[in-house]
């Protein structure tokens, strides 16, 4: 068999705001991901194929009719949503035997340290502060690669074919629009907006990242 063609990562994005759904969808598409957006936690679970019992909302079972045909490599969800919050969704996913391996990322417009640690403790891989930037999404690739490699290792394929491809971090090249003037560079030099807020957030994110031990690629390949 030839080299396996790398299919795109498929991300399920959950947000009750139409505006935010549009934003996250474009961000993910720009990062070469396939995206499905839903406007609630319960719709997200439905999409995954988890049947929510109407009588007992705490009981979950995999619906016999809807088995997960679509492979989801990551769930990214807003925290503040009416009904089922992002945290509730995270819990439900992690409680489910079938889907707990899907990495979950939480987004929030509010920087509440207690909230962030609660989510990370519950199993969220990352916590993004809104507005989410393109650079933030490069952090997702390692998490999504994990699930893809895992799935491929379960297939009966020759060992040589399981290529540990480096996470293709998308270069943010804006080569598209017919811009005679390098406006981005112009803007950067004229920038008066203090970069404080974004640096602070970066600092916070770095703290979050280093606190969690990241599985190295070595471990994954040897499990093949």
């Amino acid at each position: 068999m030839g080299v396996e063609t790398e299919s795109k990562f498929h991300v399920l994005a959950v947000d009750d705001s139409l505006f935010d759904r549009k934003m996250i969808e474009r961000l993910l598409q720009k990062s070469s991901c396939q995206v499905t957006t839903v406007d609630s936690g319960s719709k997200a679970l439905e999409f995954l194929g988890l049947r929510v019992d109407d009588n007992d909302p705490n009981a979950l079972s995999t619906s016999p009719q809807i088995h997960q045909e679509v492979e989801i490599n990551l769930i990214i969800t807003d925290y503040c949503m009416p009904g089922m919050t992002g945290y509730d969704l995270l819990k439900k996913v992690k409680e489910s035997a079938a889907f707990r391996s899907i990495p979950v990322v939480i987004m929030s417009s509010e920087n509440v340290p207690a909230r962030i640690s609660r989510c990370l403790e519950e199993g969220a891989e990352e916590f993004f502060l809104k507005p989410v930037k393109l650079a933030d999404l490069t952090k997702l690739k390692p998490h999504m690669m994990k699930t893809k490699l895992k799935k491929e290792s379960e297939k009966p394929v020759a060992i040589e074919e399981i290529v540990v491809s480096k996470p293709e971090i998308e270069k943010e090249e804006d080569s598209s629009v017919i811009e005679i003037l390098p406006l981005h560079q112009e803007l950067e030099s004229e920038q008066l907006e203090p970069m404080l807020s974004s640096n602070k957030r970066k600092a916070m994110e770095e703290v979050i990242s280093t606190d969690r031990s990241r599985p190295k690629y070595n471990d994954i390949t040897t499990s093949v």
Binding site: L18, F19, R26, K30, I178, I180, L187, E190, Q191, E193
Partner: protein
Amino acid sequence: MNTIVVAQLQRQFQDYIVSLYQQGFLDNQFSELRKLQDEGTPDFVAEVVSLFFDDCSKLINTMSISLERPDNVDFKQVDSGVHQLKGSSSSVGARRVKNVCISFKECCDVQNREGCLRCLQQVDYEYKMLKTKLQDLFNVSFKLCENLLVLLVYSFY
């Protein structure tokens, strides 16, 4: 000469957008937004910005209704509206609108109706101001495109 017009329009566009940043109408997030636009999605920024202004209009309207009667203010509703507005203005890079939302939230938290009404008025003013500014910007960029197209066509002769 068309080339001179193009150069002038480029200058105008550049100066205008820089001034919007300098005057605090836009912040870095607007540049982030522009990064998301490409050949496949040439209208992305315009769509998002348009959606934002629609949101502003709707939310301001509902908040205005919630704040109308002094004896019966639905602060929960107002808070929800401010939260949404703060989120979308932040995502778009609408700095002034976002800043008003911050003050607005504070007034809401302490249930200060007068303060909320003032903020509501200010938010209305700021989003409309930004809308006008961006409209001008889009008009200049449109003229620029038109002239570039003319240049391109004539370059074949």
